[in-house]
């Protein structure tokens, strides 16, 4: 028995691992460069953004009510989906009522969370992903392995082969050629589609403005030629005011892709106004709960501040080694290790290993644009798992350690005994954690009691100062 994430990491190919390691490391470096270049104190901005998001969550009932009433005033049909199933049913119902058979959609992690494409396909509606990465994931029958860069785990030769297999042109791994081919293919479908589905990055409660950022402009194309627009978003995407967006958009682009601003930033206030030449006549907005209000009631509520930038995934050394699919859920990496087990609700135990897949190094919190205390939340979930009797494979027994560590006499005896372990090879000691350590590493010499003996002598008066001349104080 091994930890599933470690087993996954050990089994995956070196080339796949290196693709993730290098790409994630590069983005991490660029992120930190652009934030330090552009702002005097980026950490102050992260903390401010975190406070605004936390305030919104703490008063979510108020802001939700405000958002819904503004949206309705703007002519948007608002739907509230308590579960993933309900969200899928709502979307299907809207599409069926409009007689839509084919849909183009832009990137939305919520749509991945509720497995919308599969659901629509089962009901005879084709849904085409138009974000390049998501498109590649879709034709490969794969799943995204990163929040922002769904194909971080793929090399371009794999993509070129896949394009060839799907009739998108002879093998050519030039990124520009690949992009042009996808563009040509997608253009036709935009025009032939019956509806556009998008996600959303923010929703202003004040104005009802929905903010959608893309680098490819594909969300615009999903909306512009269509009569019907459906936007999907988690209910934690609300921010109080339009002016808050300046902070969040600046932090999101820099944290996610080291850009000052994403190439396209859409502000959608509602369906097409009579004065506008094109755009959807009808706009629906589906607000997904799917366990989020449950999380609000727990001591892990800070995770709902997340704006899905993926910076914690990029910086996380465990994510880099394991890659996103190791987490077996839509959200991988540090944010996923907290969010996924919580969203699983009664299935928590199936994902209780995710919070264990961390050295608690804290790099994730350091880069988080909304300052989520991820290591603390991982610890809380570990405690929750332990409380539910879920223990990881190979976890060293801690109760015995606790008994020794609370009894100074036993502790000192243990130190003395441990020194005798220098007399024979450590591999003879039948203690599993030690053997696991020794499988990969050597052990230093035991020196139990040596310092204590020295200290006792010293306290009895035989003190020698290493070197006088203490002229070192300011």
């Amino acid at each position: 028995m091994t930890e599933p994430i470690d087993a996954f990491a050990a089994a995956q190919s070196i080339s796949r691992r290196d693709a993730v390691v290098h790409s994630a490391a590069l983005t991490t470096e660029q992120r930190s460069h652009i934030l330090r270049r552009d702002y005097e104190d980026p950490d102050a901005l992260r903390r401010l953004a975190g406070r605004i998001k936390q305030h919104t969550l703490d008063h979510l009932d108020h802001y939700l009510e405000q958002a819904v009433s503004t949206l309705e005033k703007n002519g948007v049909h608002v739907h509230f989906a308590p579960t993933a199933e309900a969200a899928c049913r709502i979307v299907l119902g809207i599409l069926q009522k409009a007689g839509a058979r084919s849909v183009v959609k832009s990137k939305s992690m919520v749509s991945e969370e509720i497995h919308l494409n599969d659901y629509l396909a089962r009901h005879g509606i084709t849904s085409l992903e138009t974000d390049l990465g998501e498109f590649i994931v879709q034709i490969d029958g794969d799943t995204p392995s990163h929040i922002v860069r769904p194909i971080i785990h793929k090399r371009r030769d794999e993509v070129a082969r896949s394009f060839e297999a799907h009739g998108l042109g002879a093998y050519d791994d030039d990124p520009e050629t690949i992009t042009r081919r996808a563009r040509r293919h997608l253009r036709r479908h935009y025009l032939a589609s019956d509806a556009g589905i998008t996600g959303a990055n923010f929703l202003s409660a004040e104005s009802g403005r929905l903010v959608i950022v893309t680098n490819e402009g594909n969300a615009r194309f999903c909306m512009a030629p269509n009569r019907l627009h459906i936007a999907l978003l988690g209910l934690e995407k609300i921010v109080p005011r339009d002016r808050d967006l300046s902070l969040f958009l600046n932090l999101l682009a820099r944290s996610a892709t080291a850009q000052q601003l994403t190439v396209y930033t859409q502000f959608i206030r509602g369906p097409r106004a009579p004065s506008q030449p094109s755009g959807p006549d009808t706009m629906h907005l589906v607000l997904l709960d799917n366990g989020r209000t449950e999380i609000l009631g727990t001591s892990c509520r800070e995770i709902l501040r997340c704006i899905r930038c993926g910076a914690c995934q990029n910086v996380c050394p465990v994510y880099r080694q394991a890659s996103g699919h190791a987490y077996r859920t839509v959200y991988g990496g540090p944010v996923g290790a907290v969010l996924s087990p919580l969203l699983a609700g009664p299935e928590f135990s199936a994902y209780a290993d995710l919070p264990r897949a961390s050295t608690l190094c804290g790099a994730c919190q350091e880069v988080c644009p909304v300052d989520i205390p991820i290591p603390e939340l991982l610890l809380r979930l570990r405690a929750k798992g332990k409380g539910a009797g879920i223990i990881g494979p190979d976890a060293p027994p801690m109760q015995a350690f606790g008994a020794v560590a609370t009894s100074p006499g036993l502790w000192r005896l243990g130190l003395k005994v441990s020194k005798t372990m220098n007399l024979f090879p450590a591999k003879w000691v039948p203690w599993k954690p030690l053997q696991q350590w020794l499988r990969l590493r050597t052990l230093p010499r035991w020196e139990g009691g040596v310092f204590r003996a020295w200290m006792r002598n010293r306290q009895n008066g035989s003190r020698r100062r290493p070197s006088p001349d203490p002229d070192n104080k300011s």
Partner: protein
């Protein structure tokens, strides 16, 4: 507080910490009943066990209202942050807060507690500094850099991707052996890139893991705790103009 690792494996590091503090003018008291900060069960989510150990530590250090100096950023972080989390709903939270307030990582105490801005003495050589993750966001990183930069003859080489963890992570090292080893390998690559004579850190736990990995591949990795560098600098012959 000596820490369990120095107690069991690294006697000289604890000795160096005492000597450095004494040189800085402190009188060091060593409560014999001390054991461990409780971090291993805490990180495993076994708060019940880790609270027992933490309570033992609080009692052991409760006698005198003295600063508690730890030659480890990790154990210091356990006292300062970990305990506050695991005692948040406990009746003795105030005791945890008291220990948190009094605990310092060694170099943080030297620089920010005792206001020492320059360390005398000499250390000939090039060292790679590994910033342990538990000193992230604390004053320790600056404190070490500052002290080391004032030691004559000492050259701290640049290290790539300094924000990356070495892969130790306590029990993580044995429960996630593959990822732990790969993280360690990357860390060693970055630390050794500029051919330093030794790797220095404020935490023996990271160094034990890295040494162990290097040792298993037949390489001897010279490591020093920052307390040893400071102490050695004092005893080295000082070239004076």
């Amino acid at each position: 507080m000596a820490t369990c690792l120095c107690d069991a494996f690294y006697a000289d590091v604890a000795r160096a910490a005492v000597e450095v503090l004494e040189f800085a003018g402190c009188e060091v008291v060593f409560p014999e009943d001390q054991t461990c900060c409780g971090q291993p069960p805490f990180n495993g989510g076994d708060f019940e066990t880790s609270r027992k150990i933490a309570r033992h530590t609080m009692r052991t250090f409760a006698d005198a209202d003295l600063p508690v100096i730890v030659p480890s950023g990790s154990c210091a972080a356990m006292h300062r942050h970990g305990n506050l989390l695991q005692f948040e709903d406990q009746p003795d939270l105030e005791d945890a807060r008291d220990l948190a307030r009094r605990t310092w990582e060694l170099t943080d105490y030297l620089v920010n507690g005792l206001k020492i801005v320059r360390w005398p003495g000499r250390h000939e050589g090039r060292l790679a500094l590994h910033h342990a993750c538990h000193t992230r966001g604390s004053a320790t990183g600056h404190a070490i850099t500052r002290l080391l930069s004032t030691i004559e003859g000492l050259d701290v080489v640049p290290v790539g991707q300094g924000d990356q963890c070495c892969g130790f992570g306590g029990t993580f090292a044995v429960t996630f052996p593959h990822i732990s080893r790969e993280m360690g390998r990357l860390k060693l690559e970055h630390l050794l890139e500029k051919n330093p004579q030794a790797v220095v850190s404020a935490d023996m736990s990271c160094l034990m893991h890295l040494c162990g990995l290097a040792g298993a591949s037949g390489m001897a990795l010279p490591v020093l705790h920052v307390a040893q560098v400071l102490r050695n600098a004092l005893t080295a012959p000082v070239a004076r103009p």
